[in-house]
């Protein structure tokens, strides 16, 4: 199963690499969101400093929606969803592969965005380990929930608008948890950021298990 997951992940990443959508559109989009937040709050420097973690993760959520829509479109535009069923690939492997590919893309974007908040918002990183761990753990959860819901809306009319309605409330705990962990890592609020990682990990684990179980049903019946 993991060989199939790897196959699917490699395929998705190769497609992303070829089309350069992440590099040429998603990264600039993420940057743009950070700049817009800067415009909105720049007059009030302390507010911007205090809100950096939250703004970062809101930007990540926007990016995640775009990334999930791309990842879903790869399989729906020319009937590849059906071909995956015909090939007999384990649906859980497809889910894990696509989740991994989305997570990797998001991590690349996040790495650039961390540079963005250091430069644009003058954020100082006090714990790089916590920062990196938060990004990885939170992103796995985001990618898993996104891939699951992406497959859920794949056969639906108006899927571009339905996906955010479904995905954003589900990601609420990630926004809260990752923001708090960032607050600690950036030294803006005195909280125990590592404690939040547990919650983020729980969220990720639940979504991976649920996604692996439900993906086949969704692929087959929708």
């Amino acid at each position: 199963m993991f060989a199939d997951a790897l196959l699917v992940a490699a395929k998705d990443l190769r497609i992303e690499w070829r089309s350069r959508v992440t590099a040429s559109q998603v990264v600039p989009f993420a940057f743009l969101v950070l700049v817009l937040f800067g415009f909105a709050l720049d007059a009030n420097r302390p507010v911007l400093d205090a809100a950096t973690g939250g703004l970062f993760w809101i930007a990540v959520l926007f990016v995640a929606i775009v990334a999930v829509q791309r990842s879903t479109a790869i399989e729906t535009t020319d009937g590849a969803r059906r071909a995956l069923l015909l090939a007999g690939v384990e649906p859980a492997a497809v889910f894990l592969g696509k989740t991994a590919a989305v997570a990797l893309q998001l991590l690349v974007v996040e790495a650039v965005m961390v540079g963005g908040i250091v430069v644009l918002y003058d954020a100082s990183i006090e714990s790089i380990g916590l920062l990196a761990a938060t990004c990885v753990v939170a992103t796995v959860g985001i990618a898993a929930a996104g891939t699951l819901l992406g497959a859920l809306v794949a056969g639906v009319r108006a899927r571009e608008t339905v996906l955010p309605i479904l995905l954003l409330p589900v990601l609420a705990p990630v926004l809260i948890g990752a923001t708090r962990a960032f607050d600690d890592a950036l030294g803006t609020v005195a909280v125990d950021g590592w404690a939040w990682l547990g919650l983020l990990a729980g969220f990720g684990a639940i979504n991976i298990v649920l996604g692996a179980l439900a993906y086949g049903v969704l692929l087959e019946e929708t």
Partner: protein
């Protein structure tokens, strides 16, 4: 439980009519009790009367939501159309109650806590997220298309929401450790007898209303489905007839 109920020919029955009458009588009684019998609170004055609606709405929001989650699981496990219909009906009523909970809560909160909304309040924020999830659930249900596909999509959302909600609750709890919310004022004995009694009446009336609307909503959906099933026979005959008329020109 999964056995289909005998096909109803209309959405009412003697039971539901009695239920309906009981709800109307109950609401009248609740209004009278709430406005005249229950005393005003020392601190909250007349605003306290909002809890006669708020507490029952909140409780039945969660009951409706749990019903939807159970129905979703039953659809995924057994492809039970009965449970899928229950899940959808409960979700609609749940959204109504959830909206009512948040509305009465914030109207009550204004004079009591001096704010309509408080982001640090765990139950308030969790309930809002729940409302947003349920709206997503209903929007997927309303998309139409293949019925089994819709039921499966909705059921996955129902299960996902049910497992995520405790995490939402936990995250909001950690986020702000203080909460404005009443720490279960029902049990700490500070309430006047009449206030407590009115709350209990409110719970009973809301329970009856929940049952009444659930039954009706269930039957409407069920009848629609029956109609489509009988449509299918007609559609099959029409479809086959196409073959005879087009035989010549193919």
């Amino acid at each position: 439980m999964t056995a289909p109920a005998p096909a109803p020919s209309h959405t009412g029955s003697r039971t539901t009519r009695l239920l309906g009458i009981a709800v109307v009588v109950g609401v009248i009684a609740l209004v009278l009790l709430g406005f005249f019998a229950a005393p005003e609170d020392d601190e909250q004055q007349d605003a306290v009367r909002m809890i006669f609606v708020h507490v029952p709405s909140a409780l039945f929001t969660y009951i409706a939501f749990v019903t939807t989650a159970i129905g979703s699981v039953m659809w995924l496990l057994r492809r039970s159309v009965w449970w899928d219909t229950v899940a959808g009906a409960a979700a609609e009523i749940g959204v109504l109650f959830c909206g009512l909970t948040l509305f009465t809560g914030s109207v009550w909160g204004r004079p009591t806590w001096n704010t309509y909304w408080d982001w640090g309040d765990v139950r308030l924020v969790t309930t809002l997220i729940l409302l947003l999830m349920m709206i997503g659930y209903l929007s997927v249900r309303s998309l139409g298309g293949d019925e089994r596909a819709t039921a499966t999509r909705a059921a996955v959302i129902g299960v996902l929401a049910a497992v995520i909600l405790p995490i939402v609750n936990r995250s909001v709890e950690w986020w702000e450790n203080n909460t404005l919310h009443q720490k279960s004022s029902l049990t700490d004995g500070n309430l006047e007898d009449m206030t407590l009694f009115t709350i209990v009446v409110g719970l009973v009336v809301w329970g009856l209303f929940f049952a009444w609307s659930l039954i009706h909503r269930f039957r409407i959906t069920w009848l629609e489905r029956e109609l489509r099933v009988s449509d299918l026979d007609l559609a099959l005959r029409e479809r086959r007839a196409e073959g005879h008329t087009e035989d010549g020109d193919s």
